[in-house]
């Protein structure tokens, strides 16, 4: 990642090593690549499910702790969706 005009926190503090991690190494926040198709199309589909099921992957699991067990069906669906993506990844634009 270039640290040029814009300087996010990860550049100024992590990349320069001002804050090192617990093990004394530089903190690395992985770059997200240069693709635009996969974040756009994948993001659109996630957005549809997000609004329908009313949860993102994190809160899905928090809701189990809240005692809302029917969210388990959403989680099963999410695992099925993940499996389908893994199976058909090669045919999708990225």
């Amino acid at each position: 990642m270039k640290c040029s005009s814009f300087k996010p926190f990860t550049c100024t503090v992590f990349k320069k090593g001002i804050i090192k991690n617990f093990y004394g190494d530089k903190v690395v926040v992985a770059a997200k690549g240069k693709n635009w198709k996969s974040p756009l199309f994948g993001g659109l589909i996630f957005g549809l499910g997000w609004a329908l099921a009313g949860a993102c992957p994190g809160p899905m699991f928090v809701l189990i702790g809240n005692g809302i067990f029917s969210i388990g069906i959403v989680i099963i669906g999410a695992l099925m969706g993940t499996f389908l993506y893994g199976k058909f990844k090669q045919y999708l634009p990225h």
Binding site: G65, S70, M80
Partner: protein, 186 residues
């Protein structure tokens, strides 16, 4: 003290506390991303037999599963010991719009009973909607390479263009579902 904690947290408390979680993960050499757990869970369930995509060593991602277990425990503690029965502070217009769609008492509970209650679960439509919602979440987050945590929180704060595109996609999908598809479904 417990009284203060038990009230709904303000955005300027809840938001930064998420960043503390993120910082701690990176400080201990990990990363913040919940949806990759879905992949790990598939691998643990034996999905590697069907697709090379899942042929990974799930033990390397076990820490992230531990994070999920922590989220479940956190949800349990928060709802059982740290909650007051204050309704979720939704915009009155939102509550009104939802009641027109047939969602009564929006905000009174964590999730609407019209989607998550026993009555909804006893119909094919009710189960189908939750399953399809989940399917889109799983498929979409893996295709996008991240969800709200990986893209919206980490990616955006790291000024990643793909994350911005993904988040724009999240909201376009969310708007289409809320304003176009949900009124057709309900």
């Amino acid at each position: 003290m417990m009284e203060i904690i038990s009230q709904p947290w303000q955005w300027y408390v809840a938001g930064p506390s998420i960043v503390v979680v993120m910082f701690l993960l990176y400080f201990f050499g990990k990363r913040f991303g919940v949806s990759s757990n879905l992949e790990t869970l598939c691998t643990m369930g034996g999905a590697g037999k069907f697709s090379d995509y899942f042929k990974k060593d799930w033990k390397e991602s076990l820490w992230n599963i531990v994070f999920l277990v922590g989220a479940v425990i956190g949800g349990f503690i928060a709802s059982n010991y740290m909650s007051s029965n204050v309704p979720i502070d939704l915009n009155p217009q939102t509550i009104n719009d939802l009641s027109i769609l047939g969602f009564e008492n929006a905000g009174a509970s964590m999730v609407p009973s019209e989607l998550f209650g026993w009555e909804a679960l006893s119909s094919v439509k009710g189960i189908g909607l939750l399953l399809i919602g989940g399917l889109c979440i799983g498929f979409g987050t893996r295709w996008a390479g991240g969800c709200t945590s990986g893209h919206a929180i980490v990616g955006l704060s790291n000024f990643q263009i793909p994350s911005l595109i993904a988040v724009v996609g999240f909201f376009i999908g969310g708007i289409v579902m809320t304003w176009v598809l949900l009124p057709l479904i309900f």
